[in-house]
Point group: D2
Chain length 382, copies 4
């Protein structure tokens, strides 16, 4: 790595009791590419300011709200170059737009927005802006998911036939949102989360990942969304059939009511010549299954990877056998985005605003199909 100056970073959201804000901050530090210098860390001004003091932000860059932050930072010579937006879904659009219009690069948590209309509008904003945009579908940062993508692209699997994606969790098996738990609260509130519950929160992750790895374009989906917990306003279990261009078929299951699962994201891909299987909870290994031969256990940074099977080495910080995890995968997105910011180049593997729009189209199509008795529904047409 050549000598560098760190990128000046601001943050919207991520104050006290937030989960994902802390993740973004660690991710920004791991490869030493960013300095967090400003923030509007909560939608409640007092909380925002208190959170900023805890993090040691300078008083004049610890803002009560993102509008003020956008305005004042844009006016500084040493103003932020990039901003991380880590608020609930319905508060992605406005700050993203505000900063993009100031040509501040935006790192935005997923899903892109809470409505498809907002997503499309934000896409237009991104296209008009000189700034870059990163959507943190973080699972794409796992080295073996990049290895999987390279293996598919190389033809090692042959034409893809079947894709099985799933993301089960147990944490919402009971009405946790009624207990005042903040994370459960906004995720089950359509006004803040959008029309999708489970399908938006984790279904989009599974969907984005299968798209990232296979590159398959979806033709249509057939969904059966269900709410098991009485009184809940959004879906908490998602069953979807998928048809891809070229004839591949898929299934996607996401659930927040599956006892035994913490974050059970799993991706399995079967082609004419080989299969691939990967589980997020053990991200440093992946099965490669050539037809008619013994299964092989690939490891992050292990034999096949370093033997130059492609672009998969990206993001490997330490040798095989010492596990990297979720934070490192997240950091890889930050680090590669830093490179894009500095050079205006690269970032081919980074999720962007188009992936975000597609995520919303996926959510909408799933909800609409389910309402129409699981009718096959084309993404983007609903």
């Amino acid at each position: 790595m050549s000598p560098h100056k760190r990128i000046r970073l601001g943050m919207v959201g991520g104050g006290k009791n937030a989960f994902i804000g802390a993740v973004h901050r660690i991710a920004s530090r791991i490869d030493d590419q960013y300095d967090l210098v400003a923030g509007a860390l909560s939608s409640t001004p007092e909380t925002a300011l208190a959170s900023g003091r805890e993090l040691g932000l300078a008083a004049d860059r610890n803002y009560p709200d993102f509008e003020t932050m956008a305005k004042k930072e844009a006016a500084r010579a040493d103003g932020i170059e990039a901003v991380a937006i880590v608020t609930p879904n319905h508060v992605h659009f406005a700050p993203a737009k505000a900063f993009l219009e100031k040509n501040v690069h935006v790192i935005c948590d997923k899903p892109l927005t809470s409505t498809l209309a907002d997503a499309r509008a934000l896409r237009d904003v991104v296209r008009r802006s000189k700034a870059e945009f990163l959507l943190t579908h973080n699972y794409t940062g796992y080295p073996l998911m990049r290895q999987a993508r390279a293996l598919v692209a190389s033809g090692a699997l042959g034409a893809i036939r079947v894709v099985q994606a799933e993301y089960p969790q147990e944490w919402l098996a009971q009405p946790l949102e009624n207990s005042g738990q903040k994370q459960a609260g906004w995720r089950t509130d359509p006004a803040r989360s959008g029309m999708g519950g489970c399908v938006g929160d984790i279904g989009t992750h599974a969907y984005n990942l299968l798209r990232f790895v296979t590159g398959l374009k979806t033709e249509a989906l057939c969904a059966d969304l269900h709410t098991f917990v009485a009184g809940r306003q959004v879906d908490d279990n998602v069953h979807i059939l998928l048809r891809f261009e070229g004839g591949a078929r898929g299934m996607l299951w996401a659930s927040q009511v599956a006892p035994g699962h913490e974050n059970g994201l799993m991706l399995r891909i079967y082609g004419e010549k080989a299969g691939l299987e990967w589980v997020q909870a053990e991200p440093n290994k992946m099965w490669f299954c050539p037809l008619g031969q013994p299964r092989q256990l690939l490891t992050r940074g292990g034999a096949i990877t370093t033997a130059g099977e492609g672009a998969a080495g990206a993001g490997v910080r330490i040798p095989a056998g010492h596990p990297e995890g979720y934070l490192e995968a997240f950091a890889t997105l930050y680090t590669e985005f830093a490179q894009v910011i500095r050079t205006g180049k690269g970032g081919e593997m980074l999720p962007d605003v188009d992936d975000g729009v597609e995520g919303l189209e996926f959510i909408v199509a799933a909800v609409v199909s389910s309402r129409n008795n699981s009718q096959w529904t084309v993404l983007g047409e609903a």
Copy 2:
């Protein structure tokens, strides 16, 4: 076990190069409840007789065809008491009917028949006969599947919400049927297999097993069946959504084109209070996942089972830690059926002709739904 005389057993099918016939013979011997004394081991008389000689059948009980066997055995004082039918699907109905009408007990491989009409007709034959009927959905004989059923029935999982069943294989990823391989040949020929390919061959196993364990009654299904191998006349990949009475939801995936899978039957069940997960390839262990607590690894014959969690001990021949397998599970069906034959009682856990009819209804509903663009379809109404 009290002193016993072995049951005199005949066999239809299962001659040279057959797979499942040998399995039935071993299963019949493991617990010493049967003597194989007669057979019509192939639909080709010469092969039948040669096969019988190899197995050491007495010359006068080694028959060229099942009709002769049914007639002559019925006329003997020491005629067979039971017969195992291990032919391709389209040759289940006629011999089953012939022997049942002679009041010979029938052990029939699955699926019950090659058409739903035959299945229903056979059900009537069974009802009129004094003889008993066993359908060898052998996976129900695994001790931990019985443990699972007992756990569900006991309420340990609470109300079931989600059922995920799957049965992937790789063996038909290429057009093996064109090579003259006998097993592949009849399984991909609608005239012998019936209207379902993968859905009938292994989809029914997964479906039967989820019904056995959960007891949930199916309301409707929504299917997307597909044929990936060019020229194949039946489906080789099956994606099905399920809705059960009471509101539970399910997914079923069966595939014969999934590289990396030999017989990847897996059953996962999630209730309000706990989840269960089991994989056939490692049948001596099962995950029990109480909500909010660590996962527990139950073992066949292990702690919880012997602590009297219910009827699950059935079929455990050796203590925990020494694995039992497929043949023992199969043998358990034979052994329990022997008890039914002797006493006219028991057999509550044995798959019967009603399960067989249900299997055909499942196949037909899946094919019809798929043809109707994945419309929700009620079983038995198609």
Copy 3:
């Protein structure tokens, strides 16, 4: 398989409440090579006779003791051809000698005897007898252990460097022998078990298996045996270092006080070019680890085996993916021994009386080394 007459089998021991006798009976039936026609099923005459009645033995071949059985069966034209000895260790020698001297083939449970002197004396008896002798070190019957042996012999691992064998159990973590439990009782009584406890009961299994697979000859061992349960008269935990001819090194751990383990037999072998790892509780899979390449998961009957990697196919009854277990492995020994009995040929992979003597030498060397403060001790010299 060609037409056959079953071998007439007798049994010594294995009556009510016995464990291993039932295993032997099932093993003898699985491949239909034996008929159990006579028995002296307990050292208590009343129990022997009652047990024989339960099993349906003819009254005149249901004997009160093995001496009577040996004498009377030898006098019958249809007397037994082979006998299975399934008594506690100290009652192996006398019946084995009695039957061998009548030229009845002997199938004997392990360890061979309770003392090394008896073992050596029995070896002489075997050498003088026309009858064949099988020692049921049953784990050698697992198809993948034969595959492992073939892989080592083929040079696929290169020269062996390190062998790690272990066999942990939990069942004697408390003084179960004080509760009247029969299996625990004789195994912890030196008068019946011999000078070794855990080392004889399961340590010999691990040792025999590593010898079977690697073929390495032991140079010396260094042992630390310990008794954790107060009042127990034999060892219940075994730590042994091994040195093999040619320079390979090994470790062997056996324990009966390891919570979490049912029958945790594991064998790991590392050569210059590759490693192998296998766990008995999941016997249908084995890791093959070529240096510098991804691990491969071999399966019983799977790709590499059937691709003709050698003699490993033996004992595979059903295709890959449907698990075989402990009873099938046991049955393979019985079936191959039947072939030896009929033809006087074959049986190269069957454990014999020499393996039995070696097992006793291993036990004695381990106990002696441990008493001598873990001094390196040569097998057979103690």
Copy 4:
């Protein structure tokens, strides 16, 4: 976390092509407790300076050697408060002494030094210094190893009986040191590594971890060290028997010639009431095995941990199900040490100079025992 100023950190070693230096730098950043402001990054002055420029060190704090750095930094008002020493073993002592005598806190990689005499001398230096000392036995930073320690201390396992520790690798199965590979070079050179090869490099990690978790004091060890690769000057395979005060027994295997293993550190502990099993390659899960009950799979941050089973929560940054890895465990040591530096309190779980001396005593005892034909040898007396 309350507002904080970062600790000013220097580094000795860790320049171009170094592995562990980069790990230390990431670890120092993850929780935002340190600023790297000075370095003497190589023993070759040109490499040191070039490496510092790459990392963006200010020119006046980018030193050609550690002596200069110690002197100049001590003279600055804003001089470093702590220094990380990440050189080969034989260059730990001198810089550690130099900085401790300037009262700069020291973070030192393991093993403590290359000789026991140095280790003891350094212990005296630490005792005389006002500065704190951290030895980065990083595996102790894994949350589940802390959970394990808490479980043992709580009595959940009962009295410990058996400890099985192992650390196999494959990377030195061939004479990699002859290829010019830097990491292999110094690790196999007694002049730089010390008298132990594998036993010092990874054996000490396994030993330190078992001591950390169990708290058992070692009575004596019995070792068989071996060198398999021709021409290698240090051991590459380590077999050790252990006896602990109170009667527990243990085994330790470390190997650098075991194909299939990247960093296969595994710790298994069996007590009177329960067992624990953990594998470093999958550090987010651990088996807890209560005697006579099903195994439980504990997860990092999962149910039992958060239910307050003790001090185990430390170091958990993200909720269960999203894996943390090696870098996070490493970071936890850095972060807790920052707290010690700031407050002079805490750090009870941090490895210190006494652990370092013990590590050298372990190495020396192992080598001496092995040379004395595996004689039982007391640590610290050799």
